[in-house]
Amino acid sequence: MSESRQTSATMATNARTFGERARAWAEEYGLTLVVLVAFVSHFVNLFNYPLYLGDEGIYLEQAWAVLREGQLAPYSYFYDHAPAGWLLIAAWEFILPGHFDAFGMAMNSGRVFMVILDVLSTVLLYRVALRFTNSHYAAIATALVFNLSPLGIYYQRMVLLDNIMVFWMLLCLDLLLLPNRRLTSVLAAGFVFGVAILTKENALFFAPVVGYMLYHQVRDTYRARFSLVGFSVCTMMLVSLYPLYAILKGELLPSPTGAHVSMLSTLAWQMGRHGGSILDPSSQFWAFFWAKWWQKDPLIIVVGFVATLVNLLIGLGDRSRNRNFLVVSALSLFFILYLARGSVIIDFYVVPLLPLFALNVGLLLWWFAQRQPRGGAAMASLALVALLGGFVGLSHDEYFVNQTQLQFDQLEFIRQNIPPDAQVLIDDDLWVDLHEPSGNDPVYPYANSHWKIASDPAIQDRLLHNKWQNLDYLVMSNQLDYIFQLNNEQLAMDAYSHSRVMARFVEGDVSVEVRQVVKSSSSS
């Protein structure tokens, strides 16, 4: 009798010391662990998968133009995006020894930068989760979900403005959550929020939630007025540099004769684009949802969305006590609203949602562990392990498939078979590789993006005189002919239908080609 009581007492002591030791371990090594996971999960197979995307190429070629030509884009810049993102990429390429050639194909140099940003974002996300919950467990859970979801790994490796914007947004949240009560932290957060907007304009959708969060932080303090006004003014000042640039270039207002690009016309054009809202099952949103997101990783979508909704209920249930839940849930919901509202979206627009889903999952697990003093922590840990196991189970291509070999072979083929003075239609994925001088490889000054061949007067009219016969070669990325049709790129379609395959490289369902345009007369 007394012996068994003694044993259970010893066990209780052991259990407590186990809990304490685990907590001390999390405090000591949690951040190191998640940084290692972030690095490994993103760096392994980084240069092989996924396929270099045309959009990645656009941002990289614009960074190239900043460094090599002192301009915001190699073609006339028409205010499609604010430039802070590729200015940062340009700065990275500038300090990188070997610049664009540092890691083989040009895109790799950008992807290494993305991994660095992902690691930094992970540190920030960890800190943000820690400040919201005061628990290293919650922070570790958040950071692991962020870094192991295959959907996240897929997009976070790509050279995307969205990844850069996520970094600035997390930095903004981190600065706002610093416990030092200083006004300069708030002002810095305002500037950083401005940088986030200048990196990718959809950061604006976070403004109401960030404002709400700041308001409740400072409302009863002596620095309330200066904090709220200061944050807004710092953001606006930074963002105003963008229209200021347009004004100084004389490109703010539309040109009556259409002689130049205009920031406001581009803005109006973008506002007017429709991709179909979430209510329409045939909209872009659902197309990407099923074909890309759900197919890659249904787990993060379901768990992240459910956690967002549950956190909303927890937050609304007791607003003053659970305000953090409300904030984290609202960040998620506002961005979902952005995706679902019915404008044009591209599949990678989902990127900023991923850290927020992770944050919601982390907070919810923590809430559950707190709520059930007996076994809650164990069950939350079990749920986390199951989720992470699911992620790893869904991941395969991310770590084992080599897709970019196709693009490498395609590039080698071009270098050996196409003369440097040829008029070449390309996708943006190989743009920098074909323009950046590198060793003895030829440079292709007349290799132009199909987007510009279809729409930039300087290329379409003045260089090619609107004749498909003036094109010599077509470098086709995966499904580029489908893009031609989708955007009604007449010149490209004509050239395509008069071309023959010189080389085709295939891996699974992905194929790329090099084609030669066959001209009817041999007068050239």
Partner: protein
């Protein structure tokens, strides 16, 4: 090319300078410790320290009596307060008014309150202060200007701070109140607000502080050791602050909205320019007198030079605005260059926004309700106000170069008091 590079460098320097100034304005909101430390104590020690109040007055017939009332009616034992109205002997009007008031106040009481009149030169405030100080007897000497509206608890505040914190010099807040009395009054009020509420704390924490001209309290041994006020200086208050800092004397700044000494803005633009000219010239005098060289470390010396030379910066800055706009529009240059040339204008905008927020901070602290249109009015008068300051600064430089160092006294009519009774 040369012009562009010079403009770029100049623009960047101006931007850094302006950012520094803007930071000093918000210092106290940025530093929670500084903010908490600036407050007056919530409970008072029993009165123990005796005070001599110096009331230097020259042609202050209109306001001197009310000020004497205020001092005498302060909530502090009368036997611990000695009041000296310091006049120049030929200013018979003020002397007569003061004597009348003494007779009236002494009815039924025996107050330690008298007029002391000097006959020697120069006729200025520092000389009057030295004269008054020589005849004072109390532990602590303080100065109030004839137009000041002092808070009844001010002596309890200082008594408590000096006893608890063992400091020997205390500067309490002075605040202009009539923010809606003229086109320049709003911005003038806000200058005081930011100076006392924020910037002086930065100075105090860095051991280099130009003191204010009144509501400043010195232990008598400190003043004796310093050898009194500099009678050749137009801003004897800033000068004595530098000298105090040079000997490493800690200065405690109390800015608590509840206990500020209330003042009025100058009644006319001409008076305002004269006052500002005097301050600017006094700062320049103090700069060239170079007592700041005795400050212990580089940071303090830098801060001193920066503060004292500020009128010069101010002149340059205000003149820069039209030049910047002209350069942006007329010098063909890269977009990036044009954007850098714009930076100082951004700082100007930041300065304006901080002023507007400051107005509402000030107003809520004093239970005032400025209309929302006030910020528009401020925007309209913002640059003209800067130009007036620049004009005064230029005028001061010119006077200094020509060796004109007489005291252009500011006139007081008691606008803040009229305001209160309405």
């Amino acid at each position: 090319m040369m012009i562009v590079s010079a403009a770029l460098i100049f623009s960047l320097l101006v931007t850094i300078q302006a950012a520094y100034t803007v930071y000093l304005m918000i210092y106290t909101w940025d530093q929670p410790d500084a903010h908490d430390a600036a407050a007056a104590p919530e409970s008072f020690e029993p009165p123990r320290i005796s005070f001599t109040v110096l009331l230097p007055a020259r042609h202050e017939e209109e306001v001197i009596q009310q000020t004497m009332d205020r001092v005498v009616n302060a909530n502090y034992p009368a036997e611990l307060i000695e009041t000296l109205v310091v006049c120049e002997a030929s200013d018979t009007g003020t002397i007569a008014k003061a004597q009348d008031k003494i007779a009236e106040l002494n009815r039924g009481r025996n107050l330690n309150l008298r007029v002391v009149a000097f006959t020697d030169r120069p006729i200025n405030k520092p000389h009057g202060l030295n004269f008054g100080f020589a005849q004072s007897k109390s532990d602590v000497v303080t100065i109030f200007d004839a137009e000041d509206e002092i808070h009844p608890e001010i002596f309890n505040v200082v008594n408590t701070v000096m006893i608890r914190e063992k400091v020997r010099v205390v500067q309490c807040g002075v605040q202009l109140m009539d923010y809606d009395s003229s086109w320049y009054s709003t911005l003038n009020v806000l200058e005081y607000y930011f100076w006392f509420k924020s910037r002086l704390h930065f100075h105090a924490n860095h051991g280099m502080i130009p003191l204010g001209g009144n509501t400043v309290f010195f232990r008598r041994e400190v003043m004796t050791a310093l050898g009194g006020w500099d009678e050749a200086n137009l801003t004897e208050d800033a000068d004595i602050g530098i000298r105090l800092s040079a000997i490493g004397e800690k200065v405690r700044v109390v800015y608590d909205d509840r206990y500020v000494t209330k003042e009025e803005t100058p009644p006319s633009l001409a008076q305002f320019v004269k006052q500002r000219t005097r301050w600017s010239q006094g700062f320049i005098q103090t700069l060239f007198k170079a007592d700041w060289r005795n400050l212990p470390n580089f940071e303090q010396k830098f801060l001193a030079v920066y503060t004292l030379a500020f009128p010069i910066f101010q002149a340059v800055l205000a003149l820069y605005v039209p030049v910047a706009l002209w350069m942006m529009l007329s010098i063909p240059s890269a977009i990036v260059v044009a954007m850098v040339l714009m930076l100082p204008l951004y700082l100007l905008l930041a300065h304006y926004v901080i002023s507007v927020v400051g107005l509402y901070e000030f107003a809520s602290a004093h239970g005032l309700h400025p209309p929302l249109t006030m910020s528009l009015k401020m925007a309209a008068v913002y640059l003209p106000y800067q130009w007036v300051l620049a004009y005064a600064a230029l005028r001061a430089m010119l006077r200094q170069v020509r060796g004109v160092t007489n005291w252009e006294k500011t006139k007081h009519v008691g606008a803040h008091r009229v305001d209160r009774t309405i």
